[in-house]
């Protein structure tokens, strides 16, 4: 299946992209996807959102359309 991977703020700086289509399996977890595509990013320094909701790094992505890497937020 194909999923859109979004990167924001420092995560985009490290990865060098803000959005990329990736292939993955429904049983794959965000942690595994990150390790495969962006080993430079430590999941302990980020949160992950799946289809616009904060998700567990270790929960399979299932039929998600969009996975986002969320560095510490700083709005306001």
């Amino acid at each position: 299946m194909s999923v859109k991977l979004l990167a924001f703020a420092q995560a985009a700086d490290v990865l060098g992209f803000r959005e990329r289509g990736i292939d993955c399996e429904p049983e794959e977890t965000p942690r595994a996807i990150l390790a495969r595509l962006a080993p430079a990013l430590d999941p302990a320094t980020l949160r992950v959102a799946v289809d616009c909701v904060y998700a567990d790094w270790d929960a399979p992505v299932g039929t998600a359309a969009e996975i986002a890497l969320i560095p510490p937020v700083s709005g306001g």
Binding site: C52, V53, G75, G76
Partner: protein, 128 residues
């Protein structure tokens, strides 16, 4: 509760006050302005980015939760994105309620929750 959430690339224009009913007795507004110094570093402005669909969804969820605890009549939330010069507003929030206690508590908690959980970021320079 009436909820209005928006992001804008332009100067924030404060919307005219619209009272949902004559039971509104308190209007509390907050504007967050970009300061010249942050962490001892002189700035000309800040750059903001957001994951807009998720930020909108998170804000709506936070506002609904807060409304259960501090019932309010309306909330207006506007966050500017892109480059914001020093002295201009990056954030505007208006809360209407019957009495001031609810609106003040709603506002204070909403901003705390936004700063903890809503995917919006500031940086000293724009990102590629």
């Amino acid at each position: 509760m009436e909820t209005h959430i928006a992001f804008t690339k332009s100067v924030i224009v404060v919307p005219a006050l619209a009272l949902p009913s004559h039971e509104v007795g308190a209007c509390v507004e907050f504007a967050g302005l970009v300061r010249e110094t942050e962490h001892d570093r002189a700035l000309a402005g800040l750059h903001y980015e957001a994951y807009e669909p998720m930020a909108t969804r998170e804000l709506a969820r936070i506002f609904n939760e807060l409304n259960a605890v501090h019932p309010c009549a309306a909330v207006v939330f506007i966050h500017r994105l892109g480059w914001v010069p020093v002295g201009e507003a990056s954030l505007f929030v208006r809360v209407l309620s019957a009495h001031r206690g609810e609106a003040l508590r709603f506002l204070a908690t909403a901003i705390d929750r936004m700063k903890a959980d809503v995917p919006i970021w500031k940086s000293v320079a724009a990102r590629g």
